[in-house]
Symmetry: C2
Subunit: 341 residues, 2 copies
């Protein structure tokens, strides 16, 4: 896909996620074969990694970095941060902070990853709190949205910073000149806007951003702004609600197509169409949320991701690293916030 | 459906909604024919109503109540409240407060309906703010959820009151003995729970309610609690997000089924199955949100509802009125809050 000859180095937490190496190893191998410019620092238990990777990995593009501990999926972030200094997650992030790699991928627990990444990497100048940003599908194209769950009760300045970082990301990764930015709100006239939302809206209005005003929940999947800004509480609820709805619809459509001999026949005939439908909305294509606002590219893969999803998360880190996303955001922030760094 | 011989009287705002009488009139006629125990006070412009209803309406079960004004769909609530004292919405609510009917239905603008209903009817003793409650579908069954957008920034006591009212409603309307109640929250350990959510959770825990703890966004459509409690901001965003996602999926599946000659053929064969699927998740079945916490049954139909949806909203009001919902809630509140009234 890339025409450049420069190589991209990423560190990958191989022990994270619901199934650990069982998924991360084939995912990593898939990514290495998809991206010839990719070099991976695979972090985890060296023996297990050798068994899972050596037979088929390209030896010149895979480095095993040993670590002795694993952050559990339900481990409190503070405990991971304090007691798991040799975890695969921590060591992968250390690789990034030491400059050995230009991006890091983990399917480990989100809270621990955020806390550790914040501690190891620090936030960018002008950014108070990192946010989780991800891509969500639309009938044509997609939308970027943040924060999806890192911060609860974000004050207006923080929502404004989300807008700045997010806009810079969309411009850098998508090449969109002046991405349109919407602020998530509720529609009813009577209650439109808490004070926080109103102040954030004013700050966005008075900035250089291409701010279009308020958007509502239905604009996420069915609207046309390039970037949606919201607090992590609402963002997380919107994301999880749509995951639940998609699961429900899948369940119901499967039930209907297996109800009778006729419906089974219909399913057989409609299969290619249903497959094409599924491929267009496949959440695995969109796997790989970014922890944005840190001094480094950190991609969080879904904990329950399969190997294709995990490979896509690695692809997302590769893209961000190859576009020098962090320096782009840094210089955009400097320009906007007139920071001395 | 009902074996009782007692009649239910409802007032219906015939001028509200995106299309007014064009939808409300056939919707009302449909409801009258579905429910032989129903008497409707149809409020609106008498001439237009006579034209639209008289030819086919059962004269003994339809009373036209004249009103000279209409609340616009984008009219600010304060303006509707102050200047539209003879609006179909206001007169329909007056009918309820005067005891002429035992329930009221409107497809008019939500903010104006909430403000007017609150002014005309007042809240129940022990209730600070009314909430919007609705039914959402699940693969098997459904869930009740409140608040869907009446209140932004609800304090813990108000969230607790939502739990009390909602639980009472589910018990009364569904016959569920001790409905399970969940509080909507985000999952990440690090940030779980703002102080408001934590305090509300403690209050629910220490009550008589069958409180099961926190639920997440994916539990709305795919979980198993009977009632979900949340602030109106999150509730509205969850609801609108799922509306948008459902619209997107419909659009994409339609595109895929019309892409080629083969897919058109597949669509033809799969049509009965897709129809059955659609019927199971048809949002029209679930039309009719209740403004809960008022001294009277007030049902809000979706502004863009078609006649079937509007008829369902009337059906929802009829059910609540026939079960004496308001007195049930009142006595439950009295018992729980130990109010003297």
């Amino acid at each position: 896909m890339s025409g450049t000859s420069s190589l991209i180095r990423l560190s990958v937490d191989m022990m994270g996620g619901d199934q650990g190496i069982e998924v991360t190893a084939p995912g990593l191998l898939d990514a290495l074969s998809r991206y010839p410019d990719l070099i991976c620092h695979a972090v985890g238990d060296p023996e297990q990694l050798h068994d899972a990777l050596s037979p088929s990995a390209p030896a010149d593009r895979l480095i095993v970095v040993p670590s002795s501990e694993v952050v559990e999926m339900d481990e409190p972030p503070a405990s991971a941060l304090r007691f798991k200094k040799d975890s695969s997650m921590r060591v992968a992030l250390n690789q990034l902070s030491e400059g050995a790699v230009s991006g890091c991928v983990s399917a480990g627990n989100t809270g621990a990853l955020m806390a550790t990444a914040r501690f190891v990497l620090k936030t960018l100048p002008g950014i108070d709190r990192p946010a989780i940003i991800a891509v969500l599908p639309r009938p044509a194209g997609h939308v970027h949205m943040l924060d999806l769950g890192a911060n609860v009760g974000s004050p207006p300045e923080v929502l404004f910073q989300f807008g700045l970082m997010g806009s810079s990301l969309v411009r850098t990764l998508e090449g969109t000149d002046a991405p349109t930015v919407g602020l998530l709100n509720v529609g009813s006239e009577e209650i439109k806007g808490s004070d926080t939302i109103k102040t954030a809206s004013d700050m966005l209005k008075n900035s250089d951003l291409n701010y279009v005003g308020y958007v509502e929940g239905d604009d996420i999947f069915n609207g046309d702004v390039d970037l949606i800004v919201c607090d992590g509480f609402e963002g997380n609820i919107a994301l999880k609600t749509s995951e639940g709805l998609a699961q429900m619809l899948t369940k119901v459509i499967r039930e209907e197509f297996t109800k009778s001999v006729f419906s089974k026949l219909a399913a057989l005939i409609a299969k290619p169409v249903l497959r094409a439908f599924q491929a267009r909305i496949d959440h695995r294509r969109y796997n790989g949320a970014m922890l944005l606002g840190l001094r480094g590219v950190v991609i969080k893969s879904h904990g329950g991701a399969d190997q294709t999803s995990f490979s896509n998360a690695i692809g997302a880190a590769r893209l961000a690293a190859s576009k020098n996303l962090i320096s782009q955001i840094e210089s955009d922030l400097e320009a906007t916030l007139a920071l001395a760094d």
